[in-house]
Structure formats: structure tokens, C-alpha cells
């Protein structure tokens, strides 16, 4: 009557095989000793819900509930932010707890919770500035794309704007000391838009990414005001030699500095701690691993013709 009537999967065998694999993995890390076996990780699903709430609260009449009326606006905003911050507090607690697992002197629950509440309070206080920064990003997108019909279309439809909403929220989290939450928020945007901005990146005012699929902006990148990027632009790191223990050194400045008013066309790749001078234009598919002065105009042709051995190099 049913496809699975006569089926038998040897579940006991699979379950014990997976248990053995977990034991082998956990063994050297001693993970279970610290945590007592609980699941202590932040949740992508929760953060997705939190970001959705914050989007609604930041732009109530456009990203909030479909039938919101202005009389209800402030009630909605307060209720929604209250709910989002409560949920965020739980995620912050999870990350702080996870961070503290390997410390020799574990922090008390009470102290950790107070720290978490402080982080969330500061995050909440930053929301109005986030909104103001996003208004400038939206305006930049509207002015920068001849195909845009209205600022509302830009806010509702442009993946570059959606990526920036996530980034400006993730950036606050990153600076407040919860990098895993920040990273999860960034990856939500990456999954939705194909735009991968590390939450550690510093991005100025009126920033616009058009189309956006394949854009990668690294952890220590610094971007000025009024910069414009197209799809498949990479602001990455050059290859690092691994350290003595075979692992890569973490946290060093290793991504480009892009000054104000720069435009970088699709497919361009800029690697390493180089500086692109203000007002420069970087052409499509260009591969650049050195600094250029202000007002430069860099194209594949100019690289091939003038400086074949330095800029057009490997990683």
C-alpha cells in the first residue's frame, strides 16, 4: 500500500556509525567537556527573523506589514524593535557563551548576561543612524542607475540595497563584539543577493553596488564616500604564506582601501592592502594588485600596454 512497507534501513548501524564519527571529531577538541552537551550556537533562522523585523522597523511603510497605516506606525516600530531586540539578546548570549567555552576562568552567567544586554542596548541605540545611512545609500542607487524609476523601487528591488541593509546592521554587531552574529547576517545577504561583504569591512556614505552578483569585499577593506561598484568586483587579499603551525595569520590589514568617489566596473579584481585614489575609475575585468593615485583611469588595455609585469600579476 505504501512504498516503504518492506523497507529496512539498518538504522541502528547508521546511528552508531554517525556517533563514532562525532566522537572522533569531538575527541581532540574536548567540546563536550566544556558545554555539557548543549547546542550553544547562534541560529541563522533566528537571525533571519530578527533582520526581517528590523527591516520593517527601519522602513515601516515600505518593508513593514503590507497594510500598515501611519496612525499605527510608531506602535508598530516600538513593538517590532522590542521583539527583535529580545530575540537578539538570546543570540548574543549564545555567542558570548560560545566564545567563553575555552577560557580558563569562565565568566559568571550573570556577568555574561549583563554584557549581552549592554551590547543589545547599544545596537538598538544605533538604529536611527543606520536608517539615515541607508537613506543615503538608496539615494545613491537611484541617482546612479538610469534604469531606476523611483527611490521606492530601489529600496524594494535592488539587491545592492538589500545587501547594504544587512551590512550596516552586521557592521554594528561586528563592532560591538559579536562577530559570529555579524557573519551570519552577512551570509544571509550573500545567500539572497550573491553579494559577499565581510561585516568587518568599513564602508562610507552613499555606497552603491549595481547588480551585485559575485561581489566580494574582504574583512579589512576600507571604502570611502560615494563609491560605486558593479557585479563580480572583488576587493580581496593577496595570498599569505601560512604561519609556522601551518595556519594562516588572522586579523591583519590585507584588503584594499578605496577612497571617495571611485567607480569600479564589473569583474574587476583588486587584491592586497593597496589604495585606489579618490575619483579613480577601474575598468571592467581589470586585475589590480598595486595602488593607483587619485583620478586614475585603469583599464585592461592600459595595464597590458604600460605595466605588463606589476599590476597584471597573479594572486
Amino acid at each position: 500500500m505504501n512504498d516503504s512497507s518492506q523497507a529496512h534501513w539498518n538504522l541502528d548501524h547508521i546511528v552508531s556509525g554517525l556517533r563514532d564519527a562525532r566522537v572522533d571529531w569531538r575527541g581532540p577538541r574536548g567540546r563536550l567537556r566544556e558545554s555539557g552537551g548543549d547546542r550553544e550556537f547562534p541560529s541563522q533562522q533566528s537571525l533571519r527573523a530578527i533582520v526581517l523585523q528590523l527591516c520593517g522597523a527601519l522602513f515601516p511603510m515600505r518593508l513593514g506589514p503590507i497594510d500598515l497605516r501611519s496612525e499605527v506606525e510608531d506602535f508598530y516600530v516600538g513593538h517590532t524593535i522590542g521583539s527583535a531586540l529580545d530575540a537578539l539578546l538570546h543570540q548574543v548570549c549564545l555567542e558570548l557563551h560560545h566564545m567563553g567555552r575555552n577560557q580558563t576562568e569562565p565568566e559568571s552567567d550573570e556577568s555574561m548576561r549583563a554584557r549581552a544586554a549592554q551590547i543589545v542596548r547599544q545596537f538598538g541605540a544605533a538604529l536611527p543612524q543606520v536608517r539615515r545611512a541607508l537613506d543615503l545609500d538608496v539615494t545613491a542607487a537611484y541617482q546612479g542607475d538610469p534604469a531606476a524609476h523611483s527611490v521606492d523601487e530601489v529600496l524594494l528591488c535592488y539587491p545592492g540595497v538589500s545587501a547594504m541593509i544587512h551590512h550596516r546592521l552586521a557592521s554594528v554587531l561586528y563592532k560591538l563584539g559579536v562577530p559570529m552574529l555579524a557573519r551570519i547576517v552577512a551570509e544571509i545577504a550573500h545567500a539572497d543577493t550573491g553579494i559577499d561583504i565581510h561585516p568587518g569591512a568599513t564602508i562610507g556614505k552613499s555606497f552603491f553596488i549595481d547588480h551585485g552578483t559575485g561581489v566580494v569585499i574582504g574583512e579589512t577593506a576600507i571604502i570611502g564616500d560615494r563609491v560605486r561598484l558593479y557585479q563580480m568586483v572583488t576587493l580581496g587579499a593577496k595570498r599569505f604564506p601560512p604561519g609556522e603551525n601551518g595556519e594562516l595569520k588572522k586579523g591583519l590589514p590585507r584588503h584594499p582601501i578605496i577612497e571617495d568617489d571611485v567607480v569600479i566596473y564589473s569583474g574587476a579584481t583588486i587584491l592586497g592592502r593597496v589604495t585606489i585614489g579618490r575619483g579613480s575609475v577601474i575598468g571592467g575585468n581589470v586585475w589590480l594588485t598595486r595602488s593607483v593615485p587619485a583620478e586614475s583611469n585603469v583599464t585592461q588595455a592600459s595595464l597590458v600596454n604600460n605595466m605588463p609585469n606589476c599590476g597584471l600579476g597573479g594572486a
Copy 2:
């Protein structure tokens, strides 16, 4: 007992900070004066549901409900399209209302609603042709990819086909005068597939995009029959000088014309109102900003060797 017991977020402060930011943003635009404070924008979520219904109605036995039987097919199609068109009517009303906000002589509700109904009726009437066009796209994909095992696999699994379902629907909306709805449908496909086709683009029969991530096709692009594209191909615009008021001119023809039977390999970038002659092959990673005659075979090597200064230029 609960993480948030002692928490206090200063919600009043956040709410008033966000209200101030909204007032500053809305002020110069006078948005609230016209609309009475309602949320008058089309909804991505609704359009996603509508497109899902239309996919089912267009391909009932493959994208419709999992247990559909042929006896029910026409009932299902009629019921589903009826429901989708009713929902679409509401979205069309929202876009027309939004467009009309800044007009000096506002259209009557009745007249606007009649116009909306007319648009939806024409959209519905176009569905059979959309299905026939998509059947050709599916066949082209099956014939063009050695890895495809059946036309059904192509319809169910190929992001390029999914992008074309969205595009052919969005294109009808665009031509009927509801560009924001069209754009939202296009962005749904962009988010799902990484393929960004502006709904204003004109695309001929039997079109196939393989893999597709990173493909960008601009608003005024024109593509002939039997054209094939690979991932990360851009059919874009060259840089325009901004107008006197600092904004870019909107709506001018500024993207390539691709004639019949052209193949464009991955990573190729073609910019500006150039024409790629019928039967041409554009190699991978090529950067092209000028027209080429029919049956051309353009590669990076050919560009470097023969015409270093014109085609391999910046944006």
C-alpha cells in the same frame, strides 16, 4: 528565569530617533501629503506567490501540485490562474496608484481600477504564448547541454530555465505598463538564480543560459533567436555622462544587440549599443565594446593581438 528579564532597551528613544529619521527623509519629498499615510507599494511576497501559481498553471504536471492527475488538470489551471490574476489585479492597482501620486490631475479610482483590470486581462491572454515560448527555451537547453538527461530535468533543475520563466512573465508586465511589478518579478529570479535580466530586455526564441550565476542583461538589450549564454556574461551599458542636474538620463538605448545564433562564453562582457552579428562566437572573459560582423569568432587572444586599443577598453 529568562534572558531578557532585566533588560531595558530605551525603546522610546529608539522609536523617536527613527521617527525623526523618517520625517527628515519624507520631508522634502512630501510623500505623506499625497498618500494619506498608507502603504501603497507592491509586495514582493505577493508577487512571489503569484509567480509560483503561474508556474504551476503553465506546467501543471511538472510544476503544479505534486499529486495532480490529468483529470483535474484543467480545473486546477483555471482555479489557479483565476486566483493568481485576482491577486495580480491588486498589485497592479498598487503600482498604478503609486505612479499617479505626483500627477497634477489625479485619476479617479474607478478609472484606475478599470485600467488595472484591462492590464490583467491582457496579461492573462498572453499566458498561452508564454508557455509556447518557454517550451522552445526548454528544448534549446536540452539540446545545448551535454549533461542534460531529459527535458523534464531541464525544466525542474536548470536555473537558466527558471530565470526565463520569470523573464517572459516580467516582460509581459513591463510592456503592459507596470514596470515596478516587472522589476520585482525579475529580482525574484535574480535572488534565486543569480541571473539578472532586466524586464525591459527583448529576448527571442529558444534562448538558453547555462549555469547562469552572474549573468546581467540590461534594460535595452535586444537578443535574437537561438542565442546561448554562459555564466557571468554581462550585456551592459557603457558609462554615461550625468545630465545637467547630476542625474543620469533614463531610458535611452544603451545595451547590446545580439543577433540570431550567437554563443557567448562565460565571463564575457559586452558593453554599449553595439551589435554582435548573427552566428558569432564570443570567447570567455572577453571584454568587448564595439560591434562585430556576422560569424565573428572573438577571443581574448584575438583582441590582444589584433586590436589592442579599441575593444579591450575600460567601461
Copy 3:
């Protein structure tokens, strides 16, 4: 009172137009004759749910339910895998049934069901090895990215790891003879991460893709151990001449072989059945259509300077 009060969509006309289109499409294929009109295709939605369950069962404390405790771990794993394999059995039946449609001597239901159960049993038995392989991939990612703070962050946040979870599951399905299910699983990852790995590809241990958007790995590609890839890398096929009947030949080895310890930087494109020797480094945006020996260091510059006519060719 309601937007759609006076609307009339001529549904009868649309329904009959769509029916005609279906008849025209099905006619030459005789699809209905074999199947009796049922919907006989595997379902992406079901496979998405199955993969989600398997992710939880493979990594219960990190991808399983948010409040899982270690006392429940094995119960959860057994219950979840049992449920996932039952659901998978149904999908396997659908694919076998679909495959068998055009055979001259149709297999009995009983025999087909026994074959399906055997496939699912083997799939279940492979799960522990899949987990062990993924543990190595996670470790490779953690060691390869200076921005990674912990192995847990890598598992939870890295799209390259998510793509590999899908690929290692899809690969087992592909080898067990259900390529359409495998393909659907691969496309779920493609939609979520922008990484398009054909389930037929063979990938060794400790594989890491960073960022990942735009990566394409073809059906017959073979990748060794400890290989690292960046975003927008293509391991593709060169153009094939179509066969006599105008269709492309299917199934031939046509994608690259990447040996152990190779690194390929962003935007590099390697096409055809070429071999990249062990320990080689392929620079960003390189276009390569020939084999290179072990320990090669290939950059755009080296290609332009030393071998202008062979490697830097078109597709």
C-alpha cells in the same frame, strides 16, 4: 468594495489556450501514453526537506534542532534519518519510474520498488563516511581562511561548506543511479550559494571553496585532495561539435583534472580535459585550456608574455 468585483478574465479562453499548448508539446513525445497522466517527477521541495533533515542528522548539535541536548542526540539522529530515508525512497521510486517510461519491457512495480529500497539502504549506509569527509572539508576551510574564527563558524556560515554538504550527498545519489535526484540536490546548493557543482564531479578530501559565488564545476571534473578554489572559478568543457542529429554527445570526459594541493584564484577559467599538475597555483582571471605540469604558477601576465596563442584562447 473589492478591487476584483467587476473583473472578468476570460478564464475559459486562457485555460483552453494553455491546454492546446500542452497538447502541442506533449503530442510528439507521447508522454501521456506511458504515464497515464500522473505527475511522475521527483520534487525539489521534498528533496530540500530531506537534505535539511540529513544536515541535522549529520551535525546534530550544530545544524539540528536549536534546543537539542546530548541525551537526545542518538534518538534524534535515528528518528530523523529514518524519516528522511522513507521520504527519499518515495523520490527514488519516482525517478526510477520516470526513467523506465520509455523502455520497451517495463519493469514490474515490485522489482522497481526493491531496487529503490536497495539504493536508499546504500545511501543510508554511506552517511557516516559523508560526515567524516565533511569534517575534513570544514577543517580545510578553517585553516584556509584568515577570517575564520572557529570551526563552528565555518560550518554555520560558509557557503562553500554548505555547497559541499550538498555535493557529497548528491555525489552518493549520482553514483547509486539516481542522477535527477542528485541534480536537484546540487541545484538547491546552487540556488542558495551561487556555487554550481555537477553531482557527477569527483572531489577529493579537504576541499575548500572560499566565497564561492559563480563557481562552476562540470560533470566529469576530477579534483584531488587539499584543493582550494575562490569565487567565479570555472572548471568547464570546451565547445563540442554537435553530432549528426544536431544534438551534443552526452557523458564523455570533457572537464579538467585538478591534482592534489592546487589553488585556483577567483575568476580563473579552466576548460577541457586538461590536467593541472599537483601543487600548482592558477592566478585570478586566468583563461586556461591546456595542461600544466606540477608546481606551475600560472598568471595572466605569464600567459600573455610567454604563450600568447595557445592558453589565452577562446572556448
Copy 4:
């Protein structure tokens, strides 16, 4: 493969049979002529959602969201009531529209909408009094039941209190002129609690129904303050002779008047426009069809022994 593979239901025949039945039913009523074929009825599902929202807004810390904190309380209340009243407005419009169908001079849409908004505004303004009345009912339940441990338990667990929340809301709707909405709200409580209070019934302060299953209180019943009822009590109408056209006359006072401080035990039935004097006690299973003076103590025994022919009558 599937149970329904060879099934065929003759759907065309069933559909036409049902269409004929609908035509026969609608024919004499001419329903379709007036309404243009829309579905113009209020929705039980919507009203259920509205009542749930109002319950939360009336008792935010006990019936509101499970994690509500007092800082968010007013924001939550305002947002929730705003949303509930918007949804209610739509339902009021549907009822007014439905009522107006058979009028010779149909009201304009604009006028009807203004009337609906006025009703909703008055309903909203009544909510604080509703809350105060319910607080008294809760207190009465707590004081009247020896098994009650706290006022909170009473609010959360007592079906009699749940029924009164619905009744006090339904009563406001009934008085504002939307009896069908009122009735739907009453039937939601009936389905959930087995307590059937007609929204037209007038009920005083500090009312308590214990257990409650099977209680029926008729449309024109009038109940004083501090009255207590047990399960299966009926306050009903005696049989009326049908009017000339065979229909029953509607709207006449035909249910009991219960004065202050009366207690009525389980299974008692009181029928007709009789008055139960203040402070009376009506025993279990008593069947009463005449008035009794204040402070009466009526039991089955007293009825059988003292007044066999008047009170113990049929309907």
C-alpha cells in the same frame, strides 16, 4: 506507484451536478443578480484572528505574546489593536454590504465605508470598559470556585471566562449594528467552550459560569449583577406559534430576566419572559416556566410537591 493512478472520478459530472444544485438554490433568491457574484460574507477565520489579537491587547501580559516585557507593553497594545481594528473594518464593510443587498435604494460605497469606520471607531473606544468588566468577571470566578488557585489561573483556564471575553466583545458589535459579526464571535466561543450566549443577551457585572458545557442564553435574556450559572443551564424561549406565512416572528422579548445575585445550578432550564427575583437559588435540573419572587429557593422536589401543574410544564 500511487494509489490514485488509475482513478477517475467523473469530475465533470459532479461539477455540473453541483452547479445545478446551486442554480436551483439561488434561483428564487436572485442572489447573484445583486452581488455580481462576489463572495460577500464575513469570515469566521478572520474574526477568530481578530478576537485573538484583542485578547492579547486586553490582557497583554497574560494572553499576549509569551515573551512580552513591560517595556514593550503599550507599543504591543497599540500595534495589535491598530491591526485588529483594520481587519475588523473590512469585516464590518462585508456585513454592511451584505445587509444592503436587498434594499431598493442602495447606499453608496463611500457612505457605507464611512459608516463602517464609525462603527469600528466606537468599538475601539469601548475596549477599556470591556477590560474593566472582564476584570470583575475574573474576580467573580476566582471568588466563586473553591478549586481556583489564582486570578491568573482563572483567566487562563476557565472556559466561562473565555466565553465572557467573547460575549462582551460580541455584545458591543451587536449593539453597534453588526449582528452577524457578533454572532460569529459568539459561535467561536460556543465551539471552544460549549457555552452558547447569544450576543443580544444583556449581562451585568461580575458574572460567572462554572464548567459551562451546554449553557444556552437566549437573545433577549437580561441578567443582573453577581449572577452565577453552572453547566447545562438553559435560559430559553417557550415555543411560539408561527406567523401567517409559516415563519416565526423575530426579535420579540422571549427569554428570562435574571435579577441580581441569583444562582442557577446545573441542568436547570428556565423558559419564556419570566423573572427570577434577586437572590434566588434555582436547583439543578429544575424546569421552570414561570416567574419566582426574590429570595426563592426552587428545587425539583419543591416543584413536584407544591405546584405540580404550572412550573413543571412542557415547552
Copy 5:
């Protein structure tokens, strides 16, 4: 951090305790031997969904989707019935399979499936008559209750009508030989309305139950046309002596026959295979265990005064 961090439930012990209890229960019944361990019971949840679909299909403009328009009506009806009958087929298969478990010569799957399809086909064919019968019930309710404002209110709000929709569907299932499905449908109505009508009961035209909570109508009851019942009426069986093996005999006629045009007031109890003559009125709370002739008027008083020893008896 989490309430359950240090908790340990001894799950292994609970699981084995429950397994032992199941083994003890199943042992004597040998249930597992026949069924191979599958879950072979019909599902209340599925039947609830099926009945909801059938309600919509029977009364599309009132119980169907909230925004249904008449243009879509037949499509909706056909699609919904098709889907409901497919789901019903699966439930019928489950019941037939369950019935056949203990037979010495098990029926083939094919034969059972054909029988199931035949049952569903007959069920579908009966739907138009069910609708016509329900139209008469609705009219009877409207005419019988002075508080009813419209036939639409009656259909939407009256639990007695809801119970009859379920009963008329359950009755068809019962007669077609799937009594467990019938019983589940009846219990759905019982849970929702407090009205417990056994699907074996035979009920004539224009039947009306007012209020209804506590009504019980037994398996072999026969009810004529134009009968009216109030809340808490029981049409039950007298006590039977158990058979030799200690079990009660099943299936014998043991419930009352109610002839045409009878009214039975609230709380009346009629037990045994007695006949209530046409046009009789049975008063509230009456306890009756013998037949009465046509046009009788039975009250508690008449029973006490005139026939103290026969009618007013125990069970």
C-alpha cells in the same frame, strides 16, 4: 543559559518502559505479525482537511476561499473535489487494508485498490444530493429560529448546520462500507459542535438542531422529515445484557424511531427502539423509554401525573 542545561531524563529507561508496555499490549493481538509494523490507520487530520475542502466545494461562495469570484467557481469546485477525492482514496485504502488484516484469505492489493476507487467514485457522485439535502436543512434552521437573520448567517454560524454537513457526508461513507472514516468525520463535528450523531443514524429531510451542545443520536436511530431537536437531547439505547463472552452484541436496532414533524425540547432523553409518532412534541428534560402515538404532547408533568411507573424509568 538555558533551563534544560543540566537536565537528564533517563530517556533510555522511559523508552524501554514504553516499549515493554507496547509489547504487552500487542502480544495477544498479534498486530505486528499481519501488518509488518506499518501505521495503517486512517488519519483524523487528513479527514479534517478533506471535509474542509468538501465544505468549500459544496458551498463555494460561502465556505470556499474568501475571495472567490463566480467566474472561477466551477474551476475551483472541480479542482477542490478532485484533490479531496484523491486524498479520500488514500484514507479508504487505509481503512480497507485495516479491515482486511484479520482475514484468512487476504485480498490482493490490486483488488482492494479497485474497491477503494469504486467507493470514492460513488461518494463523489453523491455530492450533489448531499448539497440539495443540506439546502433543505439550512432552510429549516432559518425558518425554525426566530433569532436567525438570513440563510447565510445560518450556514455560517449554526453549529447544528455544521453538524449536519458532517453527518450527511459521514452517512454516505458509512453506507459505502467505510465506517471508521465515517466515525472520524462524525467525531470532528462532535469536537467542534458538541453534537454527537452516529454516522449510522438515518435522518430525513429538513432536519434542524438548535444550539445542539450535548445532543446524542445513536447508530440505529431513524428520524423522519421536518424534525426539530434542541440542545442536550439524547436518542439512545437502553442497557443491554452482555453476551456470553462478556461483550455487548453489536449492530442490533436499539435506538428510537422519530416520525415526521416531531419536536423534542432540550434535555429530553428517549431510549430504546421506541417510536415517537408523527407530529408529537416531547417536552424538555423528559425521560422516555416507551413509544407514544402520533400528535402526543409529552411533558415531565404528564409523565409524573399519569404514568408514573413506565416512562419515568431508569436506563
Copy 6:
């Protein structure tokens, strides 16, 4: 365009009116002072989910997931109980916290949590006995109802059995010291079945309630083995005089004792701490307020004829 466009609800006024009402209510109770303003009540919705999980774990093949196979049974049971007990722990914590609010020396969080875990552990350990007791109840129902076709039908369809599942779980909670959780579970059954059993009631083996709507069993009732009840039976308390402060005394034995093998027919009401001797039969609609010896046969007639003044009394 939208019904609510011009609406304005004076939300500020409603919100402040409701705030005032809350302040007035809370004021005398000082509720907020203790709790810090959190919502500290158990949740009916959570308990409903927990009971649903427990039902599945107690009867996996009949109330568990529809497609459960016996291979998965123990995994499912362990996983589901683990998840249910974790959720229950949270609810127990909420009730203990709520209870402790008014204590002069508040318990530490740690101690309260340990007590809660102990309660949950004991609850879990009782589950196998609960299952065994329910098996006897199911058998009693099957043997006691001539209309029952199988024990499976009884478990799936009989509201009396559903009520007993809830009661036997609620009874364990009640005895373990969490009466509000117990009460909420009892009210879930009351809402679903119309059967109101106080969790404090003590009920023996092989208990069966047929039909059940309107049954009320009080807090201190004691019921022996093999007792059978019909719909609308009340085992209640007589009226108590209120104490000096106007409240009723709580917790005294005040409900009937029903000895083994008693049958009580529909509508019978037994009030006060009386004893119904073993083997007695209580007839329908009987009103009884005194004890009867073993093997009594009590009917309305016997009461009226033989003892008019004692048993047939008021409350």
C-alpha cells in the same frame, strides 16, 4: 483603494484607556513589583504541543506521525519524549516561579530549577504506567460500546478516551505539584471533548465515558475500577457557605466517591461527599445528594415514589 485608507481609530486614546485599566487592576495586587514586569505564566499553546507529542510517544503507531515504521519506533519515541520533557521543564519553571512570587523568602533560581527538573524527571518516569492504564481504558471502551468496531477505532475516535489520555497525564502533573499545568491540560481536553475532569480527581482502572459532552468530575471525586459514565453526568459539590471573608474555602473533600463497577447514565447529577456503593446503577437524569449502598438501582421513578424529600433536593 483600500477600506482603511481614511480610517483613524484614536489609538493613543484606546491605548491609554487600557493602560489605566491595567494599572487599576494591578495596583492592589502589586503584581508588577514582584515580577519585574515579565510574562511569567505557563502557556496553553505550549502545553497543547507537549500533550500532542506525548500522545504520539505513548501510542506511536496510532497517534504518532502518519508514516511511522516500526524500525523507527524507539528512535521516534525517545526523540519526541526528550523534546516534550524539555518543553515541559520550561513550563514547570514558569509555574514554580509564578507560585513563588508572593513568598516572603524567595527561592533561588538554581534551587527552583533543580526542583523543576526533578518534577519533570518523575513525570517522564510515570509515562509507561500511564500507557498501561490507558490500554485498560481503551479495552473498557471497546467492550462497553456496542457500536465500537475495533480497539483502534476507540483510540482514534472516542472523545472519552481522548479525555482520559489528558486526564491521566494531568493527574500526574497535579500530584507532582504543578496544578496550573495540570489544569491547563484538563481544559484542553474540556475544549476538545466537552468533558471536564478536574486533574485532582482520582480515577481507577478501566474507566469509560461514552459520548461525554457535558460530563463534569470535581476536584476531590474518587472513582473506582470499571466505572462507566454517559454524557452530561455531573459528579459535583453541594453549595458551600462562604467563609468569613466572603471567599469559599478551598481544597476540602466535597465530591462523590464512586465505588467499583458502577454505571451512571446520561444527565445524572450526584453532588456532595456521598458514596455510590459498588455495582450500583444510577439512572438517567437522576439528581442524587445522598449515599446509596452497593448494588443499588436508582431511577427518577424510584426517587419520586420512595423518598421524595431527601434525594431529589436542590443543590
